[in-house]
Symmetry: C2
Subunit: 246 residues, 2 copies
C-alpha cells in the first residue's frame, strides 16, 4: 500500500485483488467440500459450525443498522435483516440454513444450542460481530464486501455438492439459491458506498484492511474445520463428534 | 452438571477436572514443542503468536481492575499488571517475552507489529479480552484459573525446550522462571475468591463455563499453530512465513 489516494476504480480493483488472494474459495477445505472429498460427518461439521455464522449475520447487521444515520442507509440495511431473519417463522436465511442441517441429519436443537461448535468458529464469528459493532460505519460496510465474491463460491458449492454427495438434495441446499440474487444486490450497494466515502488514504487503507479482516474470519473458520475434522482429525474437547456410521 | 449446589471443595474439584480434560498441555502442538519435534521456524511461529496473548494479558487485567469494587481486590489485580508490564522499561513479563522472540532470531519490530499473526490467534486472544470486559467479575476472575495448571506446563516446557533445542538458552526462557512463583500466587487468590463467591448453582455453572472458555482460548491458539505450521503446513495468506534456512 502506498499512501497515494486511489481513484474509486483503483480502490475497487484493490478490493477485488484482496478477494483474489484471500477469499475462502481458495481454502483446501472448500475445495474438498465441493469436490466430494468429504464424508457425511465432515459435511455435517461444516454445516453445524457455519450455522453460527449464519445466525450471527442478522445480529451484526442489526448492530450496524442501529448506528446508521439516514433513512436510505437504514432501509438498505433493514433489507439484509429481512433476508436473513425472514418475515415470519420458518422464512429467511437462518431458517433455510436449518433446513440444510436438517437435511444432513443433524438434530436441530443440538445445532441451535451451539454446544458442538468449534472454539475457532466461535471466536472468528464473534470477532466479526465485534468488528462491526466497534469500527467506523465505513469499515463495517466494507467488511461486508466478501459478498462481491460469494456468487462464484455458491455456484461452485451447489453444483459440486449436488453431483458429489448422495446425501445432499436441491431442497437441502435451498439456502443458497436466493443468495445468488441477494448477495450481488447487497455488495453493489456496499461497493458503491465505499467507493464514494473512502476519500482519504487513511479511509482507503481502513476499507482494504476491513476486507482483509473479513477474509481472515471466513478463512479461519475453514482452518478450524479442516484441522479438527480432516487432516488429521483432532477434534478439540467438547466439540461435535461425527457418528462413525454417518 | 447437575443443578445441585456444590460445596466449595467440590467446586474446586470440578474446576480441576476441567483442566485435566481441556488444558492445553494435552494439545499435540504442546507435546511436539517440548519433545523437540519442531524446527526453529515452528518455534518462532509459536513465540510470535503467543506474544499477542502475553501483550494482551495486562490489557485484560486493566479492564477488570477498572471494574473491581474494593481496595483489596484492586491491589491484588494491580500486582498482576506490575508482573506483566513491569515497573520500568525492559522489565515485566511482556518485555521478557520479547527476549524470547529476540533469542529465537525474530525481528522485534515485526513481532510487535502483529503483522504476521495468525487470524486464529488474534480472534482467540480478543475473545478472551472481550470476555473479561463483558462478563461478571466472578466469571472474569474464574477465567484466569488456567493458572492453576500452568506451573506444570511451564516446567515441562522449559526442561523440554532446553534439552531438545540448541537454539534455546536459559536466558531466552527467562520469561518462565518468575511465572513459577507468580502463577501459583495469582491462582490461589482467584481460586479462593471463586470458592467463596460462587454460591448459587447458576454462579457455579458460570464459573465452570468461564474456565472451559479459557481452556478453549488456549487450545484454539495451538490448533491454529499446528494447522498452519505443522500438519501439513497451510499458512494462511499474510501470516508469518518461517525462513526455510531457520
Amino acid at each position: 500500500m502506498t499512501d497515494r489516494i486511489l481513484t474509486p476504480d483503483e480502490l475497487e480493483a484493490a478490493l477485488r485483488a484482496i478477494g483474489a488472494e484471500r477469499y475462502h474459495n481458495l481454502h483446501p477445505f472448500h475445495r474438498a467440500l465441493h469436490d466430494g472429498k468429504l464424508n457425511k460427518g465432515q459435511v455435517q461439521a461444516w454445516a453445524l459450525n457455519r450455522y453460527y455464522y449464519q445466525a450471527s449475520i442478522p445480529a451484526k447487521d442489526a448492530s450496524l443498522l442501529a448506528r446508521l444515520p439516514t433513512t436510505e442507509l437504514r432501509r438498505e440495511w433493514r433489507r439484509r435483516l429481512e433476508d436473513h431473519d425472514g418475515t415470519q417463522p420458518g422464512t429467511g436465511g437462518v431458517a433455510r440454513w436449518l433446513k440444510l442441517t436438517d437435511g444432513l441429519g443433524l438434530d436441530r436443537a443440538y445445532v441451535e444450542s451451539l454446544d458442538g461448535l468449534l472454539p475457532g468458529t466461535r471466536f472468528a464469528v464473534e470477532a466479526y460481530v465485534q468488528f462491526v459493532r466497534e469500527r467506523s460505519i465505513l469499515e463495517a460496510i466494507a467488511s461486508s464486501l466478501t459478498e462481491l465474491f460469494s456468487p462464484t463460491i455458491i455456484s461452485e458449492r451447489v453444483a459440486g455438492m449436488l453431483s458429489n454427495y448422495d446425501f445432499v438434495t436441491e431442497e437441502t441446499l435451498a439456502y443458497f439459491k436466493p443468495r445468488l440474487t441477494q448477495a450481488p444486490q447487497d455488495s453493489a450497494f456496499a461497493l458503491a458506498y465505499v467507493k464514494k466515502h473512502a476519500r482519504t488514504a487513511e479511509q482507503q487503507k481502513a476499507v482494504l484492511d476491513a476486507l482483509k479482516f473479513k477474509c481472515n474470519v471466513l478463512w479461519s473458520m475453514l482452518d478450524a474445520l479442516d484441522y479438527a475434522y480432516v487432516v488429521p482429525a483432532r477434534i478439540p474437547p467438547g466439540a461435535f463428534r461425527p457418528d462413525p456410521q454417518a
